[in-house]
Structure formats: structure tokens, C-alpha cells
């Protein structure tokens, strides 16, 4: 069920004003374009679609309640993603299974250097190969294998295409931290996907040389 067409012409500011005066359709018009993005953000942290949906609903209702105080310093979508991520983290904290994940871990600066694990001369995986279910599943598995603080940054930057500044805002970390975590996330994805880079996901000759400098 899509929102009424006449709402499409309204600006974000107009929709916000209407929402504040009780127009629920207008509010859904604001939210609807963000659905995929906030769901992905919640999944980044919770990795469970039932939990992610619950968190998105809570975040959206909180946004509705807080909307009168929204000053428009950020885009509505960025603000909503931020609320969603906070809700997701709250939920994860409550979830006993994740007691070992200290919330403080989120705030620490990245120490040390990032080293790519080896210097395999990988064959490029063409985007056409994404047709293959195995590759899509491998991507998902690789994403799941990342620590949450790396997965969050990767999803916000490389899937949601938020800017570094927006990502820093949403996650409440420094821009420097965003960049360092993104580097590590990308290297870890590269490592996790390595087995298939020998050409098994692309047609053609397999060439997978591991070269170590030491």
C-alpha cells in the first residue's frame, strides 16, 4: 500500500510540519524512502530480521515523538538511521547472548596499523558474477563474520553510501575512527572472500598466488 501521490510533491520540511500537526500519512511519506536504509542499519547490528523490524518500528515511533525537536541540521534519513542504530544497540545490550560485547568498545579509538593479510594476486570478480547465488551468500557470510563495529561502518559507507561525516554522526565516533574502521572492514571482507578469488566465481583461468614479503 503506497502513500497517496499528491504527497510526493511536498518538500521534507513541509512533510515534517504536517507530521508535527498529526498527519500520519505525511509522516509515512517521510519514512517510506528510508525503509531499506534503516532496516539495513538495524540488520548491521542485530543480524536478525525479526529483531531488526521491531527495532525499526520503535525507532520510527520515537522519531515521530521527537519530530517537533528536529531542527533539520541533518537530513531526516540520517537522523532516522541514527535513532535506529541507537535502538538496535539498546536491544543488543538487553539481549543476554551479547553480554560479551561491551558498549564501550564502540567508542575506543583504533590502535595500531591495519595489515592486509597477504598479497594474493586475485582475479577480479566481475559484477555479473553476482548473479550467482553462491557469491551473494558468500558476501552475506563474510559480512556476518565482521565484528559489529566494522560491519556498521561498512554498511553505512559502502551500502548506504553515507558520507564520512554522516557516518561519524550516526555512530557517534570521530571521522578518523570511521576511516580506520572502514579500512579494517574492507580488508577483512577481502580476507573472508579470499577463497573464491581464485576464480571459482568467475569463468576463466584460476590464478591465486600467495606472496608474502617476509
Amino acid at each position: 500500500m503506497s502513500a497517496p501521490n499528491f504527497q510526493v510533491e511536498k518538500t521534507e520540511a513541509e512533510l515534517i510540519a504536517l507530521s508535527c500537526s498529526g498527519d500520519r500519512d505525511a509522516f509515512y511519506c517521510l519514512v517510506q524512502p528510508c525503509e531499506r536504509g534503516v532496516f539495513a542499519a538495524a540488520m548491521a547490528i542485530l543480524n536478525n530480521s525479526a529483531d531488526a523490524e521491531e527495532v525499526v518500528q520503535e525507532a520510527v515511533m520515537k522519531a515521530l515523538a521527537a519530530l517537533p525537536r528536529f531542527r533539520g541540521e541533518a537530513k531526516f534519513s540520517t537522523w532516522l538511521i541514527q535513532i535506529t542504530i541507537n535502538e538496535a544497540r539498546l536491544k543488543r545490550r538487553k539481549d543476554r547472548r551479547h553480554l560479551y560485547d561491551s558498549i564501550d568498545e564502540q567508542q575506543t579509538d583504533e590502535q595500531g596499523d591495519a595489515f592486509p593479510k597477504d598479497f594474493a594476486d586475485w582475479r577480479e570478480i566481475p559484477s555479473e558474477a553476482l548473479q550467482r547465488k553462491e557469491l551473494r551468500e558468500a558476501l552475506k557470510r563474510a559480512l556476518d563474520s565482521l565484528a559489529p563495529k566494522y560491519r556498521e561502518v561498512l554498511i553505512l559507507r559502502d551500502i548506504q553510501h553515507l558520507s564520512i561525516q554522516e557516518t561519524a554522526q550516526v555512530l557517534n565516533i570521530s571521522e578518523g575512527n570511521v576511516k580506520t574502521r572502514l579500512l579494517r572492514a574492507r580488508f577483512q571482507m577481502r580476507d573472508a572472500l579470499a577463497p573464491g578469488f581464485d576464480g571459482s566465481w568467475a569463468s576463466g583461468k584460476t590464478e591465486y598466488e600467495k606472496v608474502r614479503p617476509w
Binding site: R24, D113, F115, I125, L139, L154, L183
Partner: protein, 78 residues
Amino acid sequence: MRVIEISCFEVWREISNFIDGEVDAELRARMENHFKECTHCKAILDGTRNVVKLVGDGVEYEMPPGFSSRLQEKIKNK
């Protein structure tokens, strides 16, 4: 123009920023020069770029069926 050399370690640290166009002109020149000379780092650059592209194109979270209508209902019923 003689470009000052850069170590592989520095290149690895900046490679993600390089891909995103987040390095200043001087550093970019040094890194581009390094990639011409160092096949290992060039391989890492290519591989990392490939990963970024795959992640961008290939990861899609399946929205649970009915997600939108349930959300809309929740908003309407508040």
C-alpha cells in the same frame, strides 16, 4: 617532478582513503607512484576496490514480507 617515496605500510594504511578520494594531492601522487612500482600493493588496491564494488552491488537485505504495511499500520494506530 620528483615524488617522495612511500612505504608499503603507509600505503596500506591509506588505501581505503585513496579509494574514496580522501587523500590530499601530494599523498595521492606518492601513492600512485608507488602503485606503478609495487605490484603487491597494486594487487591489494585492485582487490579492495573490487570488494567495495561487490559489497555495494551485491548485498541486499531482504525486507520481510509485509514490512511496509506493518510499519504504516503502527504509525497510523499511535
